[in-house]
């Protein structure tokens, strides 16, 4: 029915089957929309956040999806700036993923703040010392860049191509894409870093406070590194998942291996830096704040195992797997390692957001727990459903994997 809309040379499933695939996600989207409506209408008392757990699932989600969405900037950077042409095979998909991650994050952020109508005050009365100001500026600018990067992919769609002026626009955009990729990289560096700085500057919480390197805390750089490492892994992972779900070969295996290699080396550097940072933090920064580092891991739910899990199991292990050519050669290991890498970054964001707030600061504080309410979870799932829906539609009607056509022929 919708064949005229599907790009030439691509084989897609029938519309009813496609709609069947979309249906559960649409239902989830509707549930999430209801939860978001409740949060706007009734207020944030619909969540299980409180004065002590001021950040919850949503902030964790924001940090994680933005870290995973880093694939967009890093792939763009490798392709347009470092001229790694083989990445042309995944760059469209990476851009769509990035766009979805960032727009989802901003959407959920608007639900998370108590007065969304005042969001623009950050531009009106910016506090230049705040990491969140940096994040807000870079996020909004970068979302714009992503939209511009997404535009050519949409403009090349079968119907829009027919409009000559749009085609010209697409062509022009394509010529300047390197500039946007560079701008995107710059912006991404800053906001990924600022997101790390968000916790690194909190001198009230010795658990998350880090010594400064220059004007930024060390987590600023660690977040850039970890996001750059996890981004390609996430692109790899999604490409593999989409290929499995659609039962098609989408890119040549070398592309995935290259992504894995990039991810692996970056992850290795990250794990090294993280190790050094942790040692400095545990032995110098936190004792200076009057806290014994052992106390961070003195509570049953968050023992030292979590540090081990984050740095070794979900850091060093995937890094070593990904840098090893033999491991990369086996798709199973490659995918497993990149999944571990993504989980590692997600765990890092979890520790930064949740453990920081769960740990007591005052002598008479208790260790706190928090579990999200259904509204929070549903709003979280809204973003997931939104991502899946938009990606699915993009995948069906747009050319996300330019190599797919050749591979289908061959």
């Amino acid at each position: 029915m919708d064949e005229p809309l599907i790009a030439r040379g691509l084989r897609r499933t029938t519309l009813p089957r496609f709609l069947l695939w979309l249906a559960p996600w649409a239902a989830l989207l509707a549930l999430g929309a209801w939860a978001i409506f409740l949060c706007f209408a009734e207020g944030l008392n619909q969540t299980n956040m409180d004065n002590r757990f001021a950040f919850g699932l949503w902030i964790y989600l924001d940090l994680t999806v933005i870290a995973l969405g880093a694939g967009a900037f890093f792939t763009g950077f490798l392709l347009y700036v470092l001229k790694r042409k083989e990445l042309r095979a995944v760059v469209n998909s990476a851009v769509v993923l990035g766009f979805l991650c960032y727009s989802g994050a901003i959407l959920i952020l608007m639900v998370d703040v108590g007065q969304p109508l005042r969001a623009w005050f950050t531009f009106w009365h910016p506090n230049v010392h705040s990491m969140l100001t940096e994040v807000t500026f870079c996020l909004t600018c970068y979302l714009l860049v992503l939209a511009i990067e997404y535009a050519p992919v949409v403009l090349r769609s079968r119907k829009l191509r027919d409009l000559l002026s749009l085609l010209v626009l697409e062509h022009q955009l394509h010529k300047v894409m390197a500039v946007f990729a560079a701008v995107g990289t710059f912006l991404s560096f800053f906001h990924q870093g600022s997101l790390g700085g968000l916790y690194g500057v909190m001198n009230g919480h010795p658990f998350s406070y880090r010594a400064s390197l220059g004007i930024w805390p060390s987590t600023f750089f660690l977040f850039i590194l970890s996001a750059a490492a996890a981004g390609p892994s996430f692109v790899l992972l999604t490409t593999w998942v989409v290929s499995k779900l659609s039962r098609k070969e989408l890119v040549k295996p070398e592309v995935l291996r290259f992504l894995g290699k990039v991810s692996g080396w970056l992850l290795l550097v990250y794990v090294g830096a993280k190790g050094v940072d942790s040692l400095v933090w545990l032995n110098a920064t936190s004792p200076r704040a009057g806290v014994s580092p052992a106390s961070f891991y003195a509570y049953p739910s968050f023992g030292t195992w979590i540090l081990f899990l984050e740095v070794v199991v979900l850091g060093l292990v995937p890094a070593l797997l990904l840098v090893s050519e033999r491991a990369r050669a086996r798709t199973g290991l490659l995918v497993l390692a990149s999944a571990l890498a993504c989980c590692g970054v997600a765990l890092n964001r979890f520790v930064q957001t949740i453990q920081t707030q769960a740990l007591p600061t005052l002598p008479f504080d208790a260790f706190l727990s928090y579990s999200p309410s259904w509204q929070e979870t549903a709003a979280f799932l809204f973003v997931v459903a939104y991502g899946v829906l938009v990606y699915s539609i993009s995948f069906r009607y747009l050319v996300l994997f330019p190599e797919e056509r050749e591979l289908a022929k061959g």
Partner: protein, 630 residues
């Protein structure tokens, strides 16, 4: 000249205008307006009309009668603070008092007289209420003793109390007061030991160096809010030996126990054994001031006999308190006189048994803390309200089934007198009249509920705490208009009595007249603390004026009690004391229900006060209001 405008010109002009507009202040103004719109608070703070004034009055929530300053905009009170120079409260007030101005708008505030019967309830007009209560009083007067009138006063000593007694006398009925609670019971036990039948005692904590509380929530603010912590902290500047220390003897770790310098946790019910054990150590080790004890007391041998079985070892096995602790406490008390021992309650919040209070009274006599120069327990004169009318009886002395008409005072709290205590007193088809300003609690059991006045609505002279070292009198001023259907109980009762054709005996002179006639004491200004001797005042009117302006009359110290206090009160024997102390009662498992002041105040908690129980971890939630009797 024809103007030749092309479409291009128009477009250009439009573009230019648009660019100009963007560069003009207009968009910024627009943005700013939006900013202001999003900044608008949801509820604008109302600005009440009328001049701002800090108006003096007296708190009527509990018997302490703290001096208040109420910030009013016209007749709208917006905050309550303590009167800084007030002698009864020293400028302190408790959280209940801080929210007093919210109480007349409390959802439980009764706004109209109500008649309850089997089919439900119906509102009554004021006239109908007077007629109904008048009819009930007439019926009671006619019936005589069984089936007669009982008035239960929640706060004896007020001008209204005199009227209650007059009405009770005219109707041939009784006037009862609720059982005394807290340290007042220890004072009552001591009064019973005096040859003077009318000796009243008060506590002067400032005179003590050791305060031992058997369950009394003294550090939580029993009596004057914050008094004991203030005294204790103030004494820290003195040499170590002269400091005031507080020992809390209580089975549960209450807030007072946590705050005390020492906390001793005996098995509940073994308090008397512990007190007699301390007494025995004092006697055995000769830690008494023999001359003092001999000159002021008699019957020491009997008390020594009562204490004889309570060696530290026995006490330890009875109470679970190590023998060494008992000995050390006794020595510490003896070494740091003046020391005072005050009873309070057991972990369930109910009073200690009489035998325990007797043991505590004996301990006070042994320590020489009563009635001497500089003793913590001093004699005081009765308050200014001269006694007249029906003599007060204790509720326990009212026979079951003897009450035909029960009148409940508005200050009677259900925690002080539970309904289960009153119900057996009622004769079949008795009428219960409540004058409580609140719905809920005892008022929900009343057949006739005639709402009285809430705090800040009440006006009149307010006597101070009966436990204080000296009698005081200050004045409450009506700052808030009462609801249409509420009545001034005094006016209402007089009208009802007239309707019942009761002839009231002459009421005693007003408290102000009484004070003026006595020429005793001084009036202390609540703001400046300046004192004016009553003797220097020209008329009762001048005295009333000073009270109206927030002054507080304080009685002169009373002379030392004549006659010696006996260790054993009439009807007590050494054997009965030690027998009761040996038979430690089984422990009531319940936690202490609430802080003392909340138990005494009949008013429900204001919504802002519930912040403490719901939004901080400070207190256990107050007990819920009793549901309507089925």
């Amino acid at each position: 000249m024809p103007l030749d405008l092309s479409r291009r010109d128009l477009l250009l002009a439009a573009t230019g205008a648009a660019t100009g507009a963007v560069l003009s202040p207009l968009p910024w103004k627009l943005v700013d307006d939006v900013a202001i719109w999003t900044q608008r608070p949801a509820t604008p703070t109302p600005r009440p009309a009328g001049p701002v004034a800090l108006r003096p009055t007296t708190c009527t929530l509990c018997p302490v009668a703290c001096g208040l300053r109420v910030r009013c905009f016209g007749d709208v009170p917006v905050s309550v603070t303590g009167a800084p120079g007030h002698p009864a409260s020293g400028g302190a007030i408790c959280p209940l008092g801080l929210t007093a101005h919210h109480l007349s708008r409390h959802p439980l505030r009764a706004r109209t007289a109500t008649l309850r019967h089997a089919r439900g309830e119906e509102p009554l007009s004021r006239d109908a209420a007077v007629a109904a209560v008048g009819a009930a009083l007439a019926r009671a007067a006619h019936a005589g003793r069984p089936g007669g009138l009982l008035v239960v006063d929640g706060r004896p000593g007020r001008p209204l109390s005199a009227l209650y007694r007059a009405v009770a006398a005219a109707a041939g009925g009784r006037y009862a007061t609720p059982p005394r609670v807290g340290p007042a019971r220890t004072l009552a036990a001591l009064s019973r030991r005096s040859p003077e039948p009318s000796l009243t005692l008060g506590v002067d904590l400032a005179a003590a160096r050791r305060v031992v509380c058997f369950g009394a929530p003294l550090l939580e603010g029993w009596g004057t809010p914050g008094l004991l912590p203030r005294l204790r902290a103030g004494s820290r500047r003195r040499p170590h030996e002269e400091r005031l220390e507080v020992v809390q003897v209580e089975a549960v770790r209450s807030r007072s126990a946590a705050l005390a310098d020492r906390w001793i946790a005996p098995v509940p019910g073994s308090e008397a054994a512990l007190a007699l054990g301390i007494a025995r150590v004092l006697l055995d080790e000769g830690l008494l001031d023999c001359r003092l004890v001999e000159s002021r007391t008699e019957g020491l041998e009997g008390f020594a006999r009562a204490a004889a079985p309570f060696t530290p070892g026995t006490v330890s096995s009875l109470s679970g308190v190590p023998a060494a602790t008992v000995v050390a406490l006794a020595r510490d008390l003896a070494a740091h006189r003046p020391a005072v021992v005050l009873g309070g309650g057991d972990p369930a919040g109910s009073p200690l048994p009489d035998e325990t209070e007797a043991a505590l009274a004996g301990l006070n006599l042994l320590l020489g803390s009563v009635g001497g120069d500089g003793s913590p327990i001093v004699a005081r004169r009765e308050g200014p309200a001269a006694p007249a009318g029906a003599p007060p009886v204790e509720l326990a002395d009212v026979p079951d089934g003897s009450v035909g008409v029960l009148v409940l005072d508005g200050h009677l709290s259900e925690r002080a007198v539970p309904w289960s205590r009153l119900l057996p007193l009622l004769a079949p088809s008795a009428t219960v009249v409540s004058l409580s300003p609140w719905r809920g609690g005892l008022a929900d059991h009343a057949d006739l509920h005639v709402p009285g006045l809430a705090p800040l609505e009440e006006a009149g002279d307010v006597p101070g705490s009966p436990d204080a070292a000296a009698a005081t009198l200050s004045r409450a001023v009506a700052l808030v208009a009462s609801p249409e259907g509420a009545v001034d109980p005094a006016v209402f009762l007089k009208e009802s009595a007239a309707r019942a054709s009761l002839v009231l005996p002459p009421l005693p002179p007003s408290a102000v007249e009484g004070v003026f006639a006595s020429r005793r004491g001084r009036v202390v200004d609540g703001t400046t603390g300046e004192a004016t001797p009553v003797g220097s005042l020209a008329s009762p009117g001048a005295l009333g004026e000073l009270l109206e302006k927030g002054g507080c009359w304080v009685d002169d110290p009373a002379p030392l009690p004549r006659g010696r206090l006996s260790f054993l009160a009439p009807g007590e024997t050494a054997e009965s004391l030690s027998r009761a102390a040996l038979a430690a009662r089984p422990a009531p498992a319940a936690q202490r229900a609430a802080v003392a002041r909340e138990a005494v105040a009949a008013a429900p908690p204001a919504s802002l006060l519930t912040k403490l129980t719901r939004e901080t971890a400070l207190r256990t939630p107050p007990v819920a209001v009793a549901p309507w009797r089925a």
